[in-house]
Amino acid sequence: MAGGKQSLVVDAEPTKDLFIEMLVRDIDLRAAILDLVDNSIDGARAAVAQKSGKSASSKTPLRKMFLRIETSATSLTLTDNCGGISLTDARRYAFRFGAHKKKNIENSIGQFGVGMKRAFFKLGSKFEVASTTRDSRFVLPVDVQKWRQNEKWEFVLREVDDSRQPAKTVGTAIRIEPLLPAVADEIGAPGFSTGLLDEIVASHQEAIDEGFELTVDGIAAAKMPAVLLRSSEIAPAKTEFDVNGVGAPVRVRLVCGIGESRPGEAGWDVLCNGRTVLKSDQTPVTGWGGSADQRLPSYHNQFARFRGFAYFDCRDASRVPWTTTKNGLDQDSPVWRSARQRMISMMRPVIDFLNELDSEHDREGSAQTGVTLASKVATAKPVAVADLSSRSVFLYPKATKAPRVGNVNYSRSREELARAKRVLGVSSYREVGERTFEYWVKAELD
């Protein structure tokens, strides 16, 4: 090319079509809805924390906070009272792509600032967000087709009102209608609501246990607080510590002990900022055998009573050990690796006890002296994890070893034995043998 001094500007702006396509490609329908649920629960925690004036944590009681999800063949609506989206947040954060760095809700589960928009594009061809805080309200209706055609990367908030709003109206209502055809098929299929509810509960049992009311098509999620068995002789290990590092400290709580014998529930639950990222794990990930360091046996049903809970909470959501998708565990996280080493150490006595319990079971039928371990477990009562006191090592009763015995066997004439029976005042030969031996022991040994 002659000269070569001229410049040419190439239009590198992404087209919205490409952008939307990229955004929704790797997410499935339920995960998209779960992102919206995450937002509501983040909002609930923040709202409650603001009210009580302290920072949010997964211990925050979420009583009176709710999220109602309704599905139909053509629409999906989510209605909550979880604080609403402020005008500032709507402008600077909620409807921008890629969250503003500074706006990170403390102890949040949604940290990447794409969830909500992505869910909308994934699910429907039109959506509307109506949100009210104590200080403002707005409505954002979007026709996705029209938005695609518009060159500008902007959303227009309507019915904007920055006056004081009544407390009762605070919250966010999202309506997605009509749904995309494929989405409508899936949502309309029988069993969708219960399946969705199960999935939400699997991730958010902690929030539900703290009183968060969640319903899908009128079916309410049930509270199922984590419990462990405790008695005067059996007590779970429970420890709390902060892991420092760059940024806010991560609060780690580790609890482990025994529960009811249910193979499906045995193992470790790992929760990050209240969200379950690992459920009833029985793999080397949480220290069970098979890993390179092999400190513990592999999971087996004799450990069906094992229960462990690992909670990680941090104001800075990027420090808790989860993957960027928030639904998996980041095994390389230093916080996780350090906690895991402690978890393995905490598990060991529980495993030892369950092994003893198992071998006691195997011995059944042979003479058992004293109170069995099984009967001690039976008298232990379930106690909610939150109500347990700290103790560094699992407490358990040691098996009372039956004294080792031998048999003495000899024969004597029946006349002799009959005389001995009379004198001793007993009715069997066995007793004759025992009494005469005791007599000798008393006379010669004691």
């Binding site: 360091d293 400190r295 080493q341 150490s345 060991r348 006595p349 090592v393």
Partner: protein, 310 residues
Amino acid sequence: MRGLDTEPREIDYRIRPAKNVERKMLLEICSRMGAVQEMSGYRYVGMGSIYFVDFSLFHRAFGIDSMISLEGREGLMERCEWNRPFDCIEVRPTSVEAALAELRSDVPTIMWLDFEDKLDSAILRQLAEACEVLAPRSILIATVNATPDVLKSRVRNFRRRFGNRDLANVDKDEDLGKEKLRKLNYAYMRQAVEEAVGIRGIRDGVVQRQLAHFTYKDGADMLTVAWLLHREEEAQLIDSCGFENLAFAQDGENPFNIKVPKLTYRERLELDRSLPDGEIVDPPGCIAVEDAKAYSLLYRQMPIYVDAVI
């Protein structure tokens, strides 16, 4: 093995001179912690067998009254219990492996895992677990048998003990000769401790420093390494203990070899008169220079045996 042993396999440690010296040197190293920590407040955890030599020593020297002896051999339990020299010693009928998690405590502990056995991955795991459960200011001491196996079975036994570790470096029996084996054993123990403390430190800021590295031979080649666990912010305070002032306290990969020279009492008394000052260049009598030098390194700890009628 459990339940079958009714005789201790180990020899009577009281009369093994190198072990005797090592014990006193370790005692002296531990005593340096006295600059920052009341020694009688330590807990002592060991493997006392039926002799409890180390228990007696640490109890007499420091007045430690919380002492736990781990005894995994069921058949020996009764005899161990009977032989406890002091009432403050508790014998736990459990293997080291099973005991460690329950030994977690906030009390600083001197824990001597004095294995008769050769190092294997199980022992390494136990060292790692010890690093996890011991309180800051605890001292962990590990002794293993580092005698090479008979030439033909070295690699096979190594694989049995360590699985596929160091596949590239260890594939000939010659790779596991005395010196190479010692280096490997040391490196493995060191790595196990560094890793475990490193991971723990993320949580609670605990770090480790090596206090001792001994080799000696009382029959078998033995290797002992000791570490102190402490909070990182206490590093300066720990410096004030002056471990490095003890010539036998080695913080690196070169061991202090405890070599007990064969000397008569007369020879010892004569050498003592020129100690501790100066090098013995021209030892009296027919004492070899190297014996005299060896003696000068451990004359304070070297035992004097007398046959006594009790």
